[in-house]
Structure formats: structure tokens, C-alpha cells
């Protein structure tokens, strides 16, 4: 459970931060915007296991390019076997998740950004606000609903993480990267402890449901308006 929390907190924070930057960058009209959008969508469209394997390969002890690059640059003396060292195994996992889902977060935030009236920025500029101030006082507050949506979506997803870990570390080394979903899965299908596994399933469900309720209460009202 703790692993799940750790993973969720770290990856969601990173994704939000990077996603915001990405969204801000994408908000300006520029050439190659289509290219940007495409390159940002493809990671999202890949099967999670594939992206997991990609990053696993890149961080492989022998064949991985990460090691090669780090050694070359001088950060490491010799290749690191990431997946054997407890704690270090998280790095590629989190990187893989961030790489795959930051685009989605960025898109959500971009939509929110585009809903902000441009004249507000102009008014702020006339009032003498610097770029940072504009960001703090115009962008952030108006972006709050979008940030909230992204936060909730991603947190829910992060809690349910399974594919990525299964394929990258199998929960290892040992059980140091095992999130609750994988733990439940193993209990169910590998150890065939159906009773225990079912109990775990219920716990996961309840936690997720609680989060989902929060989300629905916030967003549901606006979505159930009818126009018939």
C-alpha cells in the first residue's frame, strides 16, 4: 500500500508539473504544433506494457542506453543495474509512467488554458504584471478546475497501476516496488488465495470508490444537466 502511495504521489506530482509546462508551451500557436501534438499523443496510445518494456530496455544493465549515456557523461563510473537495487528500481518505473501520461495531463490542462480569455492577460499586462505574476494570478486560479480534474484522473489511475509494474519489475526487487494491484493479482491468480485476494480487491475498490465519489460530487453536477 505504501508503495502505491509513493508511486502515486511522485508520479502525479511530476506529471502535473511537467504537464503544466508542456501545456503552456503548446498554448502558443507555432509551426510544428501538429508535430508536437502527434509526438505527445503516441506515448498515450501505446499499450502500457509496451512503454514499460521500452523503458526497461533503456535502463537495462547491459544493453540500456541510459547507462551508456550516464557513464559517458561521467555521472556514473560503471553501469548500474537499476532493477536489482532497491529504491533505484523506482526510477525507470516512474520515468516510464511520467513519459506515458504527461501528454494526457498536458492535453487536459491545455484545454483549460484555452478557455481562459486572452483579454485577461492583456489587462494584467496593462496593469504592469510580469510574466510570472500573470501566471500566478491569472493562469493558476482559472486553471484550477482543469488541474483538479487532471489530478483526480491521474491519482485514480496511479492507484490502479498494474501493467507497468508487472512488466518492468514484477514487483521486485523482492517486493519493493509492488503496488496493491499487483499484490492482489498475485494473491488471486498465482497463489490462488481467492478469499484473501477478494478481500484485497474490496479494499482497493473502496479506496478507489471513495476517491471517485469525491470526483463525481465535484464534476457530476455540471455533467448531468439535460438539454432535451
Amino acid at each position: 500500500m505504501g508503495h502505491t502511495l509513493f508511486f502515486a504521489v511522485v508520479s502525479v506530482t511530476l506529471e502535473l508539473a511537467l504537464g503544466t509546462m508542456l501545456a503552456l508551451a503548446m498554448n502558443r500557436a507555432f509551426r510544428g504544433r501538429g508535430l508536437m501534438r502527434a509526438s505527445v499523443l503516441v506515448p498515450w496510445a501505446m499499450p502500457t506494457v509496451v512503454s514499460g518494456l521500452l523503458w526497461k530496455f533503456m535502463f537495462d544493465g547491459d544493453a540500456g542506453i541510459a547507462n551508456a549515456a550516464l557513464v559517458k557523461v561521467g555521472v556514473l563510473d560503471q553501469p548500474l543495474v537499476w532493477f536489482i537495487r532497491t529504491g533505484f528500481a523506482w526510477v525507470p518505473v516512474i520515468l516510464a509512467d511520467v513519459w506515458k501520461t504527461t501528454p494526457f495531463v498536458a492535453l487536459l490542462l491545455l484545454a483549460g488554458l484555452q478557455n481562459i480569455d486572452a483579454s485577461l492577460y492583456e489587462a494584467a499586462r496593462i496593469d504592469g504584471a510580469s510574466a510570472w505574476r500573470q501566471f500566478r494570478f491569472v493562469t493558476l486560479p482559472l486553471l484550477r478546475p482543469a488541474i483538479l480534474v487532471a489530478l483526480i484522473f491521474r491519482t485514480l489511475d496511479a492507484f490502479r497501476v498494474f501493467d507497468l509494474i508487472y512488466v518492468m519489475t514484477g514487483g521486485g526487487p523482492g517486493t519493493s516496488t509492488e503496488p496493491i494491484a499487483l499484490y492482489t493479482f498475485n494473491s488471486l491468480l498465482q497463489y490462488l488465495r481467492f478469499g484473501y485476494g477478494s478481500a484485497l480487491s474490496v479494499i482497493v475498490f473502496v479506496v478507489t470508490f471513495a476517491l471517485a465519489l469525491v470526483y463525481i460530487r465535484y464534476l457530476g453536477a455540471g455533467l448531468t444537466e439535460t438539454k432535451a
Binding site: 482543469a146 478507489t208 448531468t224
Partner: protein
């Protein structure tokens, strides 16, 4: 657009950097998939000198990779077709017809889409086993409907709501029944939205892993993500084939997504940021 002149260059650098960072793993995966086995485990080079098709060939000759491809196509295709057809009818009813309990129903659909899959694996497994559907096509399609239908209905309700109701009213005054209005007026107008929804559903179904892993027993019914994840080599990890398989797995969905990117972005964000 915030547009401050001084920031232009900074932003361009950031953008280029971000595109590079995002695209690099791909580039690397593609390059490596064409790199001969012998070179894979030695010092990697950014720009390779030899390119071979070994891994791709091996996938199909040694591992019969076309089987999981076929399975994925059948499962994802059937799921999508069913969801769009049935989901469109559901969504239209939810969007336009008046009946009690609509708001809680919509909330329920939203809630169901948030269920953690892991929680339903266990009961579903037992159910499928009792129905003797483990390791069959229906045994995957049915569970897939549990997440694909809510998604489809949710997206389509949003799409239908955005159509001007007056067109449907005009059709009804003209004498068209609800069903005919739906078929002759609503569907043609909603076609782009339907296509986007179909693509999104297909992508989610194609990429699905947990159910596919849990409800299949062997290569005859495994889908592509499962097949790739379970690729094992005799002496060492068959990275070459894994990467080749990954490229094949991603190619169709990537192409679809690229072709319809603008629509997809709209679809994804419209549902979320309605605020």
C-alpha cells in the same frame, strides 16, 4: 495566447527539448529493433551502422506472432463494433429522452468507469470459469465491455448533446419517428464524433492488459500486449524481438491516432473539462 516577445526563444527551446525527450524512446526502440542481436548487448550507439530484419522475421517464423495479432484484432474490433452500435442507442436515449433517474444513471456510468479493474478480476474469473469461457474470445470481449461501454456511452452522450436539438425537433415535426430521426439526422451529423469514439474504444481495447492476462491460458487466445510481455528467451531476454513486437503492437494504434489527432484531443478533453 499569452505571447510575450522575450519568451519566444525560451519557449521554442523548451518545446524542441520536450519533443526530443518524448520522441527519443521511440526512436531508440525502432532503431534497436533493427539492430542485430550481437550488437544489442554491447555498447549502444546513437546512430547504428547496420540494420537487419532478423527480429521481425523471428517473431513470425519462430513465435507465430500473427496469432496474438489476430486475437487482438478480433477482440478489440468486436468490442468496438458492439460498443459503438449499442452505445449510440443508449447515449441517444440518455441525451434526448426524458425519464426519471437519468442523473443518477449518468453518475453510475461515470462511477463504473472508475472501478479498479483488479477488483473485478476475481469475481469475473470465477464467473467466466463457471461459464467455461476462459481462454475464449467471448471470455475477453464480455469483460472488455465492462470498461468499454461506459466509456463509449459517456463520450457519445456528450457528442449527442452538442448537436442542436432543433434539427431533431424539425425532423419530428416533419413526421419522423424518434428512431428515424436518430438514424437519418443524428447519426450522419455525429459521424465524426462516432469515429473518434470508435477509435478511442479500439485503442483502449487493444492496449488492455490485465484482463487479457488473467482470462487467457495460452498463446492461442492471448492478445498482443500479453504476448509481448511474456516473450522469454532461452538464455537471455530477447530484447530484439520484444522491441520488434512492441513496434508492431503500437503501429496500428499510433497510425490511427496520428490520423485523427485533432479529433481525439477534442474528444478526450471535452469530456473532462466541461467545468
Amino acid at each position: 495566447m499569452t505571447g510575450e516577445p522575450g519568451r519566444g526563444r525560451w519557449a521554442t527551446v523548451a518545446i524542441v527539448g520536450l519533443i526530443a525527450a518524448t520522441a527519443f524512446p521511440f526512436y531508440w526502440a525502432i532503431v534497436s529493433s533493427f539492430t542485430p542481436e550481437s550488437r544489442l548487448f554491447s555498447a549502444p550507439r546513437l546512430f547504428p551502422d547496420t540494420l537487419v530484419l532478423d527480429h521481425y522475421r523471428a517473431l513470425f517464423t519462430e513465435r507465430e506472432f500473427w496469432v496474438p495479432i489476430r486475437n487482438s484484432l478480433v477482440v478489440a474490433g468486436t468490442t468496438t463494433a458492439f460498443c459503438v452500435a449499442v452505445g449510440a442507442l443508449c447515449a441517444y436515449a440518455l441525451a434526448r429522452l426524458r425519464f426519471r433517474g437519468k442523473a443518477p444513471l449518468l453518475a453510475l456510468i461515470l462511477a463504473v468507469s472508475m472501478f479498479p479493474q483488479i477488483s473485478v478480476v476475481s469475481p469475473l474469473y470465477l464467473l467466466l470459469r463457471a461459464l467455461r469461457l476462459i481462454n475464449t474470445y467471448p471470455g475477453l470481449i464480455l469483460p472488455y465491455l465492462t470498461f468499454a461501454m461506459p466509456l463509449t456511452v459517456w463520450l457519445l452522450v456528450g457528442i449527442f448533446r452538442q448537436l442542436p436539438a432543433e434539427l431533431e425537433e424539425a425532423a419530428m415535426v416533419d413526421g419522423a419517428s424518434r428512431l428515424r430521426t436518430f438514424l437519418e439526422v443524428v447519426i450522419p451529423l455525429a459521424l465524426p464524433g462516432l469515429a473518434t469514439t470508435a477509435i478511442l474504444t479500439f485503442v483502449y481495447s487493444w492496449n488492455e492488459f490485465l484482463f487479457a492476462l488473467s482470462f487467457t491460458l495460452g498463446p492461442e487466445r492471448q492478445t498482443v500486449p500479453v504476448a509481448i510481455a511474456l516473450l522469454r528467451g532461452q538464455y537471455q531476454v530477447p530484447w530484439g524481438q520484444i522491441l520488434a513486437g512492441s513496434i508492431i503492437a503500437t503501429a496500428p494504434v499510433a497510425l490511427l491516432v496520428l490520423a485523427f489527432q485533432r479529433r481525439i484531443v477534442q474528444g478526450l478533453t471535452a469530456g473532462a473539462v466541461k467545468g
